[in-house]
């Protein structure tokens, strides 16, 4: 009796596994469509997700796959041979590094949006922070910003703080985030007292954070995009870039708060 029960379980689990295995193979065989892999700066997440859907709608049979992270990390992945077709960075420096390493089809490089840098605080913050100067006050214990090594927004913030002569003094308070969205999350959760993010990021979480000040003294923030030299889908990549720079793409980006390049 007991043995029969065990057998029954065995049969059921084998059937289940084979079903799942077939599902996996089946679905990969059904994907005879073209895939485009786009590595994009984390700050582009919401805008690009919508943009990708509209691009897919305009190009039947095409699937856009996004890889969002800090621009510096994305560049390293491409350098190590990630099969990326299009790369959109949040700063010129990362794109320049990619160009030096001959990772780009250089003639395809174009700036497609601009952005601003803001100092944000949690919505319910009781600290009266009016500008970057206030950050040196002792009641402010933690400030989130991107890691300047790999995250463009951290580099812009460092520039602002250095120009204001605050960089060295504030260093012990800084909490480095892996990308701009992590810095945004730290502020939203109230784990830090303030943080530096792009204007568009602050807008995404406006129910949890408020803008305390617009940070000034950094280079103009312009996002470049380019087709990657190793791509096997040059035409499709170019079509995506045209869509991005065209009126439809630009209007989506504008809706998420990005400025003209």
């Amino acid at each position: 009796m007991k043995r029969r029960v065990v057998n029954k379980y065995l049969v059921v689990s084998i059937a289940l596994f084979s079903f799942l295995a077939l599902q996996c193979f089946g679905s990969s065989a059904a994907h005879a469509q073209q895939e485009l892999l786009v590595s994009a700066a984390a700050s582009l997440t919401n805008a690009f997700e919508e943009l990708g859907k509209q691009f897919e709608a305009a190009n039947p049979g095409v699937k856009v796959i996004f890889n969002f992270a800090a621009s510096g990390a994305l560049m390293q992945q491409i350098d190590k041979g990630a099969p990326v077709d299009v790369f959109a960075s949040a700063d010129q420096k990362t794109m320049d590094q990619a160009k030096e390493k001959n990772l780009l089809l250089a003639e395809t490089r174009k700036d497609f949006v601009s952005n601003g840098l803001v100092l944000i605080v949690p919505k319910d913050s009781k600290l009266a922070i009016k500008g970057v100067k206030d950050l040196s006050e002792s009641k402010i214990a933690r400030i989130a910003m991107g890691n300047p090594e790999t995250v463009p927004v951290g580099r812009y913030a460092q520039e602002v703080l250095s120009k204001a002569g605050l960089w060295e003094g504030l260093k012990p308070k800084l909490i480095y985030a892996e990308n701009v969205r992590q810095a945004l999350d730290y502020v939203s959760r109230g784990e830090v007292d303030a943080g530096f993010v792009f204007t568009t990021d602050a807008a995404v979480a406006k129910d949890k954070v408020q803008v305390a000040a617009v940070a000034e003294g950094h280079q103009p923030i312009r996002y470049p995009v380019a087709v990657i030299a190793g791509t096997k889908k040059k035409d499709l990549s170019q079509r995506f870039m045209d869509f991005l720079l065209g009126s439809q793409g630009q209007s989506i980006l504008a809706r998420y708060g990005f400025g003209k390049p």
Binding site: E149, Y176, E191
Partner: protein, 229 residues
């Protein structure tokens, strides 16, 4: 090899965090496994399952739980922050908590198995000879279960040394403050510092091999002593 200096800080931090985390998971693991193996009470299987959960849950899930509980707005974190001004977020103590939670089931599981393998007649004999429950635990059960518990603690230490996900979420990745070896490797690779990454990876590998060899020796020498008796 100028980079050995840069690698020293994360190495020392990793050892400190892993040692403390192992200490906490060791104490909690031994006590809780003893309670689970000694007593019967309703919901025992459920408690056992919950205590084993960190072993199977993804570290990111644990990290999220820890943020929800220990964050400045978390139910325990808020209490600590408002009353004592303590916040575990972005501190090396937070990393200890993350590593302890992740490595706890390894001590718990092996200690529980070891306690259950102890000959209960010996424990009963001790009781008839007038030994208190604590005496039975300290003089009979613990010495007999010692090897299994130690093996579990060694595994817990190794797991704590390699902890990444939950640590990144609660302690962040702050160079010199909370950046352990595994985080430093991640950072170096992200920033394209391949030679630093190589140094860190080699150091980590050497330390882990040393730990494994040392633990093997400790367990083996104990075994021989027991056989000799």
């Amino acid at each position: 090899m100028i980079e050995t200096g840069i690698a020293l800080t994360p190495l020392l931090l990793t050892l400190k965090v892993a040692l403390l985390a192992t200490l906490f998971s060791f104490i909690a693991g031994v006590i809780l496994s003893r309670i689970i193996s000694q007593f019967t009470f309703p919901g025992k299987e459920w408690l056992d399952a919950v205590l084993t959960l960190p072993l199977v849950l993804p570290p990111t899930v644990l990290g999220y739980y820890l943020i929800v509980v220990l964050g400045r707005k978390g139910w325990l974190g808020q209490f600590l922050w408002e009353n004592f001004g303590i916040s575990l977020m972005f501190t090396w103590q937070g990393a200890v908590v993350a590593s302890a939670v992740v490595s706890f089931p390894l001590v718990f599981k092996s200690a529980k198995a070891s306690f259950e393998a102890v000959d209960h007649n010996l424990e009963k004999a001790a009781r008839t000879l007038g030994s208190s429950e604590l005496g039975v635990f300290l003089r009979v059960s613990l010495p007999l279960a010692w090897r299994g518990i130690l093996a579990g603690a060694m595994l817990a230490f190794a797991r704590a040394m390699g902890e990444f996900g939950a640590t990144l979420m609660i302690a962040g990745n702050l160079p010199g403050k909370t950046q352990t070896l595994s985080l430093a490797v991640y950072d170096a690779v992200q920033a394209g510092k391949d030679s630093l990454a190589t140094t860190l990876v080699l150091i980590t590998s050497i330390v882990c091999v040393l730990v494994l060899v040392a633990s093997g020796k400790i367990l083996k020498s104990n075994y021989i002593k027991e056989v000799d008796r």
